[in-house]
């Protein structure tokens, strides 16, 4: 393990450097789509750092969940909405003092935490040998052993948060059920057979009272109205599915 110390350090610094640079570009790039792309690069580098430190599971999960799904949703939204970048940039300058203060506080907290946090060197798992042979301890096994036993309640709380998020998403998209748009019922479509779809209708348009009136009013479009009337009549009798085209041919 110690053999790859220098290599490990090199890889770490490359990823960390790109991580910080891309995180800066998330804020400073002019095009919002580029911002999201840099955010994805940031996720990617962060997951590489996790993997480098031996937390492969967290690294891959970060990649699957954030880079693979969450960021793509950001990208989707940003691509769709034409954002006026000037107003956003104005907001950035206005918020700069507050952001700087908050940033400094967080930085100070991190420094305090890391100075007092002494990790024994033996625990540092420099796992570039991941690439050579499977490590004996799989950290997904470790995680599985504790997450459903020792940290069961925290796990359940996490699930609850996800449930709330899911309900929120559903309630946002679920409006009053609209009646005015057409959908297709696939089972109904599949049930259609030759026998109960095709019907030869022998209608004599002149005998119908309503149609008589219509034809008297508009003699020039006599045949058209007759057609449409007979269609609407037959549609109300049958399934909405039955095709009116066939009946037209039947009439002719």
């Amino acid at each position: 393990m110690e053999n790859y110390m220098w290599l490990n350090a090199l890889v770490f610094y490359v990823f960390a450097f790109v991580l910080i640079i891309s995180a800066l570009f998330v804020v400073f790039s002019k095009n919002p789509v580029h911002s999201v792309l840099f955010l994805i690069l940031t996720f990617f580098n962060a997951s590489a750092l996790f993997i480098l430190e031996g937390a492969e599971f967290i690294g891959f999960t970060l990649l699957v969940v954030y880079a693979g799904a969450v960021a793509i949703m950001f990208l989707f939204v940003v691509m769709f909405i034409d954002i006026d970048t000037h107003t956003i940039k104005g907001g950035l300058i206005k918020a700069l003092p507050v952001a700087l203060i908050l940033g400094l506080i967080f930085l100070a907290e991190l420094i305090v935490a890391f100075v007092s946090w002494k990790i024994p060197l033996t625990h540092v798992n420099s796992d570039l040998n991941l690439a050579f042979h499977a490590t004996q301890v799989s950290n997904i096994t470790d995680l599985g052993l504790v997450i459903y036993t020792r940290f069961f309640h925290i796990f359940q709380m996490g699930g609850l948060v996800l449930l709330v998020g899911m309900l929120g998403a559903i309630s946002l998209t679920l409006r009053d059920k609209r009646e005015d748009f057409k959908t297709q019922d696939i089972s109904q479509q599949l049930e259609r057979t030759y026998v109960n779809t095709l019907r030869i209708v022998q209608s004599e348009p002149q005998k119908n009272d309503n149609e008589k009136k219509d034809s008297e009013n508009e003699k020039s479009t006599e045949t058209d109205t007759a057609n449409s009337n007979s269609n609407s009549n037959s549609n109300s009798n049958k399934d909405s599915d039955s095709s009116s085209d066939i009946e037209k041919t039947g009439e002719k």
Binding site: N3, Y4, W6, L7, N31, V33, H34, L37, I40, E56, F57, F60, T61, L63, V64, A67, G68, A69, I72, L75, F76, M79, L130, A131, F132, H133, A134, T135, S138, N139, I140, I186
Partner: protein, 343 residues
Amino acid sequence: MTFQEFWTVDLWPLIWIVIKILCVVIPLMGAVAYISLYQRKIMAVMQLRKGPNVIGPWGLAQPLADGLKLIVKEWVIPAVADKPVFLIAPMLSFVLMLTAWAVIPFGAGLTVSNINLGVLFIFAISGLDVYGIVLAGWASNSRYAFLGGLRTTAQMISYEVSMGMIMASLLIFTGSLNLSMIVVTQQHIWFIIPFFPLAIMFFICILAETSRHPFDLPEAESELVAGYNVEYSGVLFALFQMGEYGNTILMSAVFATLFLGGWLPIFDIAPLNWIPGPLWLIAKTAVVVFVIYWLQATLPRFRYDQLMRLGWKVFLPLSLAIFIILAFIAHYNLNLVPHIMIG
């Protein structure tokens, strides 16, 4: 530290990694080139044509000619395109395809990187594949390309979810996410036999994930011209094509590894187990690829809403239900599935 130590301890392992990578990538490039010929020949036979037969004997030099043509051709970058993103998109889709091959086991111990979370690695990388296409669609600044990109985004994300559930269902029985371990678990019986419904669902998810027929909505020729890659030409277009063909092979190899016993022979008897593992994997992959192109010649394209309906309303509930049922079986150790050791 002497040079000797530096060489044996530090440098040689690195060089060894590079050699292993080349051992996978170079044959893969050949496979990517010739799979286009494979596809065209299959399609030709199914449509009673001859297929490419002019360049070389039986058209065998056709992929080389195509490659040469695309390399020599001029690149046209649209004036309104977002140039850096436009250039990055095809590279991304090609590189991600190559990356995922790192964990595919070609034989006992024959992988570039035998990591414990191989399945998760494949899953993560195939989840990132969508960026190549969606970025191409956006950066081209063209309506057709953009529509293709948006369709892909929704399509890939939808099917990824059920694909993950199907993989998780298998993992209950393998007890490991290591692809080599998954193959070894199938020594007694290939997973396609006890988990046949899962295999079918996984195959359909592969089709949607790599946007093959009947789910090739991102590049639906008849409605979107060529979808996301309509503005691409020359080498950039070639990179997209190679990425696509490579992904088809990759996902077929993943299918072969998860369900068809990877490098294992059909029966573990004398003449069959003399054939080396990599050849078995290649043969199984070729069969899966054949089925994909068979479908391409057979089925009409799905409509977009049908695709979404299938993904979210059919596959997701079904794969969740199967996951729970299999977890139940595994927990109570019901011996419904013969010969599979429960991890």
